[in-house]
């Protein structure tokens, strides 16, 4: 098992004219021994390219990748001691499940009894015992996925690489396989690097998550750190479902306090419903963070679970309450999502499922600003 150290890793796809497309932009990342690292981001963010460079399937334009202390830039994929699970599984259609599992060992000239033992061990672990004679064509999606994982396990590689392995499964299968892979990680204690575009997968599976965008790393942290302390607007908006609400505005100093005042959008000023921009006094800690940006534009970020129905909130500070209009109410069962509007900004609140709400009803909501964040709208960075 091994540590993976990535330094100034860059991938440039050449173009006929111009400097080429930078898919990965001088990133640094260390994946610790036995760590489950998730690379997450929207499509085109460079996460798969990064994984493929670690696998050796993609040439490295600049920078280094070291696995277990050895720089592997010039090492062939087969000699990097990695295994990879592909999005489309890439099972060999002309081989039985047994041969699919055994192929990597055969190519490495393992003795037959050892191959057999390892294949049967992996098959038992993944519940594939009864399917060893079948061809991939005769398997369900979930079974194929398990064979793909099994093909990686038998090799006992230093590093496991997963390239969106769950995206071809139906929703139910995806959840159960997700937990299976997590269990597998706990059991094998192997270093795993997992690429996904699904932030739920990232949050539930990763020891740490690396959020990427446009070839850059936006933040690397443990799931809850990422959720509670996003470093920038992108991470704040990407992690969490429904996503964090953002309000554009400015900070104003009144006699004793600092207030966030939502910007009026000129275009919306004449809206028939009448806009009712927020004006919220900041709590001490947030005020301290925003103190350097008085009278400057900022973005206030607050998660849907920190916006409450004022009627049912005990001890709601009336100053941090605002009247807003309900646009849509989505009962999810365990909770209800209210899509609200201040007249300027649309935002979401998670509220108790037992209360009933009408569309276009005006309600008072309370903003729990102890859990809010302030961002610089130009750099996108959180104010600390």
């Amino acid at each position: 098992m091994a540590k993976v150290v990535i330094e100034s890793l860059t991938k440039v796809y050449p173009e006929k004219t111009g400097p080429g497309v930078r898919a990965v932009n001088a990133i640094d990342l260390t994946v610790e021994d036995r760590e489950f690292m998730v690379l997450v981001g929207p499509s085109g963010c460079g996460k798969s390219t990064t994984l493929r460079m670690i696998a050796g399937l993609e040439e490295i334009s600049a920078g280094t990748i070291a696995i277990d202390g050895r720089v592997v830039n010039q090492v062939l994929p087969k000699d990097r001691d990695i295994a990879m699970v592909f999005q489309n599984y890439a099972l060999y259609p002309h081989m039985s499940v047994y041969d699919n599992l055994a192929f990597g060992l055969k190519m490495r000239n393992f003795p037959k009894p050892e191959i057999d033992a390892r294949v049967r061990e992996a098959a038992a672990l993944l519940g594939l015992d009864q399917l060893l004679d079948r061809r991939p064509k005769a398997l369900s999606g979930g079974q194929r996925q398990r064979v793909a994982v099994g093909r990686a396990i038998v090799r006992k590689p230093k590093v496991f690489l997963f390239d969106e392995p769950l995206s071809n499964l139906d929703a139910k299968m995806r959840v159960s396989t997700r937990t299976e892979i997590s269990k597998l990680h706990a059991r094998l204690g192997a270093t795993m690097i997992y690429v996904t575009h699904d932030q739920v997968e990232a949050m539930t599976m990763g020891d740490r998550i690396c959020v990427m965008k446009d070839g850059d790393i936006m933040q690397v942290a443990e799931p809850l750190t990422l959720y509670n302390h996003p470093e920038n607007l992108f991470v704040a908006g990407f992690i969490g479902s429904p996503p964090m609400n953002f309000f554009s505005g400015t900070l104003r100093r009144t006699d004793r306090r600092i207030e966030f005042v939502e910007a009026r959008e000129p275009a919306r000023e004449a809206a028939p419903n009448g806009s009712n921009p927020l004006s919220l006094p900041l709590p001490e800690e947030l005020a301290r963070r925003g103190a350097g940006c008085i009278d400057q534009p900022v973005v206030l970020g607050i998660r849907p679970e920190h916006v409450h129905d004022a009627l049912t909130t005990t001890g709601a500070d009336p100053a941090r309450t605002a009247e807003v209009r309900i646009e849509v109410a989505e009962p999810m069962g365990a909770e209800t999502y209210l899509y609200l509007s201040t007249g300027v900004t649309n935002f979401v609140a998670r509220v108790r499922p037992t209360d009933r709400f009408e569309v276009n009803q005006r309600i008072k909501v309370h903003f729990d600003l102890d859990h809010a964040h302030l961002f610089d709208p130009v750099t996108g960075r959180v104010l600390k």
Partner: protein
Amino acid sequence: MIAVLAGYAAWVVFPMLWVAYSSLKADAAIFRDAFALPLAGDLHPENYTRAWHEARFGDYFFNSVLVTATSVALIVALGAMAAYALARFYHPAGRAVFWLFLAGLMIPAQLAVIPLFFELRSLGLLNSRAGLILVYTANGLPFAIFVLAGFFRSLPRTLYEAAVIDGCGEFAAFWRVLLPLAKPGLVTVAIFQFIGVWKEYFFAFMLVSGDLEGRARTLPLGLANLSITAQYRSDYGMLFAGIVLVTIPILLVYLLLQRQIVKGIATGALKG
């Protein structure tokens, strides 16, 4: 509709049956009533032995089998490797090479027969099986590459990547993973080339008809020879026996591989 099809089938099949049963008749019987079935007491299977020995069909048959088998094997082996390389790897010259092969498919090789003749003569390969094999292989490669490149392109790239991670080098990935998956294409190519080479007359006539010891002549040449001499010797029974001998292998291939042939035609049409 059925009547039309049945009529058409009879129209096509009857001449073949006619040749087949006439091959068992004596010449006199053929002239007496050309379409009558052979009489049970008057069968002449010796037409076949005479064709085999007198008309040297035994030698020609051996030549044909050797030339066809070697050519088809070479076409499939070289074609698969070339097609794989052209489909899998990007190289600036790759496109040019591919178009060159395609040009070979579009230009009738007969146009090149005179330079080809001199080329083989200077190589000392005229009137030899090796020369014929060389020409048939070169002639068959464009089609093979055209079909197989389409096959290889249709295979997902991740299969190659999985093989490479599983420990394959370039050749092992080709040989153990991608080539087996191109099997339908290989079979298609092999069948079409078998039929094409087995009945090939033009090149054989140009390049090996000078061979008089029967060491290079193939069956189509022998048959043509027989049909010319049979006219003057009026030995139609032997001629028909010769035709049957030439036809049997192709008929067998059709019967055994009918499904692949039809599938191959359809695939070829789509993969282009």
